[in-house]
Symmetry: C2
Subunit: 194 residues, 2 copies
């Protein structure tokens, strides 16, 4: 269903050329020239992103760990699951462990990969890998310089009510809430590993 | 919880300056200079987006309407709820009605606003307003030139299994799945209007 299948030629675009249109200190963007399914040419502009990992951390007492963080593009403090970009050559699990520790101070005894999502498919190639963590132990957060994050814990029921009421509005976190709800209800399985 | 509260001064950034760094044919981006909570200065680069609406269309027979569309940034055909950008000055509901008709050919008798989400909070100001539609009647899709979309229908249970298995991986659509699951179970209410 996702991905390109032979029968999808009537939907698929072919890259003819690519040029960099932005090399900022944080953002990189390209403009590709593509051939549409009907043979016409058009351009597609999008952000190049290294990929990221999001962690859904489950405390032994049934609560979950979240962050409150000011997000300048939307000028608001948002409630989010911990997440961060993959370093060059870094594996998903290593990134998940690093980001959870750096941003929240927690280490985890067990991990399970839930899946992956694409964040802004119209203008970014970003993929976010989704991992659950449990068996948490609190140590000391190690925030990067210039990073200001408040760590909170919440009852999953309260968290889902925040999703319903608009107090959680970050797309990756709402996608994580779908996972959380179905894992906690037993509808969706996880493959936990030490 | 979302938004800025007086007690959030320890998280909030203040904009000092802003400059445009990209004006493409499709993407616009700015670089803001901001003062961090500790008084240090840094820059934030992000995409300016006009906002969008996503529609979760419910057929009278219990199935839902989805699209399959090639997304060049991720080089894949993705399964998504219908969505599109707000035109200048356009209201949310007008946009929802227009996009549903243009992309799928359906009109709806009743509409309900579910909420809103921010798509890529690290590098975009995009907000997506989420609307449900029911009482659907099929007419003729009116795709924009250069737009290639395949309309499919699905049982909600199958759709949720696709979310679990990675066949649905678009973040806004996964966030919509959280809404769909809770509306169909009766856990979350909607305020339907003609």
């Amino acid at each position: 269903m996702a991905g390109i299948e032979p029968m999808d030629a009537h939907l698929t675009e072919e890259t003819i050329a690519s040029e960099e249109i932005l090399r900022g200190s944080f953002l990189r963007a390209v403009r590709d020239t593509v051939k549409l399914p009907d043979g016409a040419l058009t351009t597609r502009e999008y952000i190049l992103h290294p990929g990221a990992v999001m962690v859904i951390p489950l405390l032994d007492d049934g609560r979950i760990v979240l962050e409150r963080q000011y997000r300048h593009p939307v000028k608001a403090v948002l409630v989010e699951f911990p997440a961060g970009k993959l370093d060059a050559g870094e594996g998903e699990l290593a990134c998940a462990q690093r980001e959870l520790l750096e941003e929240t101070g927690y280490t985890a005894r067990e991990w399970a990969r839930a899946g992956a999502l694409n964040l802004a498919v119209g203008y970014s190639d970003e993929i976010i890998h989704v991992w659950f963590a449990r068996g948490l132990t609190l140590t000391q957060p190690q925030l990067d310089e210039g990073e200001f994050v408040e760590v909170i814990t919440a009852d999953p029921g309260d968290f889902l009510a925040w999703c319903r009421d608009g107090q959680v509005r970050d797309a990756k976190t709402l996608a994580g809430a779908l996972w959380l709800q179905n894992v906690l209800s037993g509808a969706w399985d996880l493959d936990w590993r030490p």
